[in-house]
């Protein structure tokens, strides 16, 4: 095995230049054959190699790699905010609020504190969900005119304070009232316009595994899904981030270096990048699972009560009734008029003859429909009970029963005309409740 070999004439010659030359010839040839063979095999399989596809795949892996925003409750529905002011945030006493709502409350407190001494005010606080919120914009001007026409309001400035928020429902409304009183805010009257969210969302919550008494899952769940700072989760996050950085660096190099020009190097690059991506995803899933911990699920699910398995709609109605009793107790102890109205809704049978526009736009989630169909008759009955106890309860659920013109924009929100009609129905009843 010497580097020298002997020729037949006995001369000793060096072998390594020949070996080197052979290597230089064979390997490139093998590569070319391999490249052609691979391309041929891929073409026969019906997936011919294309450099552009390799580039696109690498670029796509690089792009996907930029996501690292875990959504631990991504299996639950989520109502995204339509604007920055509508962005929902956690609130300690009402579950969630919107940024605009928090800013509005700040303004309302300032407005009350800055009210000129001596001026006669009558402040009416409006509570409820999105229907009440829209009523604040579209129905309150009519209601205000009706009230101002009453001699009792002569020389009195009427201010409406809206504490209605999209998705709010009992017992959030009673919690909001208690919180406002603790802040020192005391209106002269409270109007609570509710009903739909209580039964529709109550049923939906139960289906989604959250207690009926908790806030609407699609509004609240993602806010509870915070990150985690536990050592285990951070270790997983660190591994994923290091893999992500490796993938970032590799795809950037591969995209620059022209590996896609060869089927062999292109495929190898794709394999390596895909393997890194798979590892990133596995880590990401593990991280998300850690966030989706029993702790957070416990916080989200609410109490586990022995008797709450039966009928979520019946429980929703009971919550609505008891919360209203509490609101009345809070108000009456302070000499505040409490007025409670059951809002009308499209799918409550007999509430309104639906026109074609309403049939088309008023499609409703199956759980919501069950909530409305079974909950509204029960709320009407519970409302009578509340009224018999002395509560100023107004059943407004039938105020559109003879209106054939389209009023509803969707399953529960009505347009300006509907809000004016509601104000016209509600005004005289509210005036009856005033001393």
């Amino acid at each position: 095995m010497s580097a020298l070999s002997q020729t037949p004439d006995g001369r000793r010659v060096r072998r390594w230049p020949r070996i080197l030359a052979l290597q230089l010839l064979v390997w490139p040839l093998a590569l070319v054959v391999g490249e052609l063979g691979l391309r041929g095999m891929l073409a026969v399989r019906g997936t011919p190699y294309a450099a552009e596809v390799t580039l696109e795949t690498l670029a796509s892996l690089q792009k996907q790699n930029r996501d690292f925003v875990p959504r631990p409750n991504s299996d639950l529905p989520w109502n995204p905010a339509e604007s920055e002011r509508a962005e929902r945030v956690l609130h300690p006493y009402v579950g969630f609020d919107i940024v605009g709502g928090l800013e509005l409350l700040d303004d309302q407190i300032r407005q009350i504190q800055a009210a000129p001494v001596g001026e006669k005010h009558f402040r009416i606080a409006l509570f409820g969900g999105s229907v009440a919120q829209m009523f604040g914009d579209l129905g309150v001007p009519t209601l205000q005119k009706l009230l101002e026409a009453d001699p009792r309001f002569e020389g009195v400035r009427i201010d409406f304070l809206s504490f209605a928020r999209g998705g709010f429902r009992q017992p959030q409304l009673q919690a909001f009232l208690g919180y406002l009183f603790s802040l020192g805010i005391a209106p002269n009257a409270v109007i609570c316009l509710d009903g739909f969210n209580e039964v529709a969302i109550g049923k939906q919550n139960a289906v989604l595994g959250t207690h009926v008494s908790f806030p609407s899952v699609p509004h609240w769940a993602q806010l509870v899904a915070r990150g985690t700072d536990s050592p285990k989760a951070i270790t997983v996050a660190a591994t994923v981030r290091s893999l992500q950085k490796e993938l970032d660096a590799f795809t950037a190099w591969a995209l620059e270096s022209g590996v896609e020009k060869s089927a062999i190097t292109g495929k190898l690059a794709l394999l390596h990048a895909a393997r890194l991506r798979r590892r990133c995803q596995a880590g990401f899933i593990e991280y998300t699972q850690l966030l989706r911990s029993p702790q957070l699920r416990r916080a989200l699910a609410g109490p586990v009560l022995a008797t709450d398995g039966a009928d979520p709609v019946a429980i929703s109605v009971a919550l609505w009734r008891e919360s209203s009793r509490n609101m009345r107790a809070l108000c009456e102890a302070r000499g505040i008029v409490y007025f409670h109205a059951l809002q009308p809704t499209l799918h409550d049978e007999g509430a309104k003859p639906m026109d074609s526009h309403e049939v088309r736009n008023g499609r409703i989630d199956a759980d919501w429909l069950v909530g409305v169909r079974t909950g509204y008759p029960a709320m009407r009955a519970a409302g009578k009970e509340l009224a018999a106890e002395g509560e100023h309860f107004f059943d407004a659920s039938r105020i559109f029963e003879h209106v054939t013109a389209p009023l509803y924009d969707d399953a529960c929100h009505f347009n300006a005309d509907g809000n004016v009609l509601l104000a016209e129905a509600l005004g005289p009843e509210f005036l009856k409740a005033l001393p």
Binding site: F181, L183, S213, E322
Partner: protein, 406 residues
């Protein structure tokens, strides 16, 4: 003999000379380095290095979690805090109490008296007087011959309006206890003032516990990177300190560089941690933590804190009255009237409202009496220098007396 000498010499030359020479060089270098440090005015002292390393180790161990308040709370433990939509935050154990209480109270209970304890003060009073309270209540005519069941919802930092929100929630769930005892005042003033100083409204839950629930952990890539950087630096610090403690500290040549490295890493770690926390609190997220604009100045802060207590207690009274629930409100002894040993020393920010707290609360309480609330000022019942147990027993006796016990 000469063979032995020659063998010994060969063994020395072959096996010991070079390692020995290397060791001597290292010792020389170590000594030289120590001399250089002395001449440079910064002598390397093992004892000093040890205490520095211990301090760095201690700091590093503290930063296990991004938020100190979440440290040490084991998942699933009774004191683990969970976000709650109506109470702000609640200990897991309290959540279990709520479930058991609601289930029990939904059962017909002619022979049972359900007593709900709320307010931060209850955590300081009742652990030592639980049996006495049961005994005293069973002697009141209204509850005679019935089994007294205590449902303790008090948590160390509960404050108004959390007690009110709890009762509203319980009653909305369709249950009504027979008696509600609220022992409060201290947290409302002291936490309220500390909250305001930290730019959080006094009516909000205790900021240092509310904050980690709002911002715990990173949910975006940059936040996670900050956390990871903090965590990685912490791990590297741990590793170096382990080597130092394993004896490396006595080698000035390596140890001084290692300590410098630990110090640099600690700075990197703290910077990353601060950036993470700042990011958490950035921009509009602050409004979540803060609530309405907090009052400015000690007087307004104290007023806002006292208002929260007064209004929420009054509302507790109103809800109880409407639902035929007996209600007793106790202003716990705190500040200058504190029972020695019954509470932890408050921190400086909590002390802000103390000088006038009692006067403000007692003045506000006249409104409670006018509203028909059974109100007890513990400071008038508990003499100075009473032990926590004596104080609790006196208070229990007074509560029972006010409820009609002979």
């Amino acid at each position: 003999m000469s063979d032995t000498t020659s063998n010994g010499r060969r063994f020395f030359e072959r096996w010991l000379f070079w390692p020995g020479a290397l060791l001597l060089v290292l010792v020389g270098l170590e000594l030289g380095y120590r001399v250089q440090r002395i001449l440079g005015g910064k002598p390397y002292l093992d004892r000093q290095a040890k205490s520095r390393v211990a301090l760095l180790d201690q700091e590093n161990a503290r930063i296990i979690h991004a938020h100190e308040e979440s440290a040490g709370r084991v998942t699933g433990a009774d004191d683990e805090l969970l976000p709650h939509p109506y109470l702000g935050l609640v200990a897991r154990g309290t959540l279990r109490t709520l479930e058991r209480a609601v289930d029990a109270m939904r059962e017909p209970g002619e022979t049972r008296v359900d007593v709900v304890l709320v307010g931060g003060g209850a955590t300081r009073i009742f652990p030592v007087a639980r049996e006495s309270l049961i005994d005293a209540l069973s002697k009141t005519p209204a509850f005679a011959d019935r089994k007294i069941v205590l449902w303790n919802f008090a948590e160390e930092s509960t404050k108004a309006p959390q007690q009110l929100e709890l009762l509203l929630y319980l009653t909305a769930l369709g249950v009504a206890p027979d008696l509600v005892i609220d022992i409060a005042g201290r947290n409302e003033i002291m936490i309220g003032c500390a909250n305001a100083l930290a730019d959080t409204h006094p009516v909000y839950p205790v900021r240092k516990k509310w904050e980690p629930l709002v911002f715990g952990g990173g949910t975006d890539r940059i936040s996670i990177d900050f956390l990871v950087k903090t965590w990685t630096a912490g791990l590297e610090i741990d590793e170096i300190i382990r080597h130092l403690n394993a004896g490396g500290i006595h080698c000035a040549l390596w140890a001084s560089g290692a300590i410098e490295r630990v110090e640099t890493l600690a700075i990197d770690r703290d910077l990353a941690l601060n950036s993470y926390r700042r990011r958490s609190e950035a921009s509009r997220r602050q409004i979540v933590l803060r609530g309405p604009s907090p009052p400015v100045g000690p007087k307004l802060t104290l007023n806002a804190s006292a208002t929260a207590w007064y209004q929420a207690t009054r509302d507790l009274g109103a809800v109880c009255a409407a639902r035929h629930i007996r209600f007793v409100s106790v202003l716990e002894p705190f500040g200058e009237n504190a029972v020695p040993g019954a509470e932890d020393e408050p921190d400086e920010s909590e002390k802000i409202g103390l000088p006038h707290a009692r006067r403000v609360l007692v003045t506000a309480a006249s409104g409670l009496v006018a509203a028909g609330v059974t109100w007890i000022d513990a400071a008038t019942v508990v003499p100075e220098k009473a032990t926590p147990k004596e104080a609790a027993l006196l208070l229990v006796a007074e509560i029972a007396r006010r409820l009609g016990a002979p």
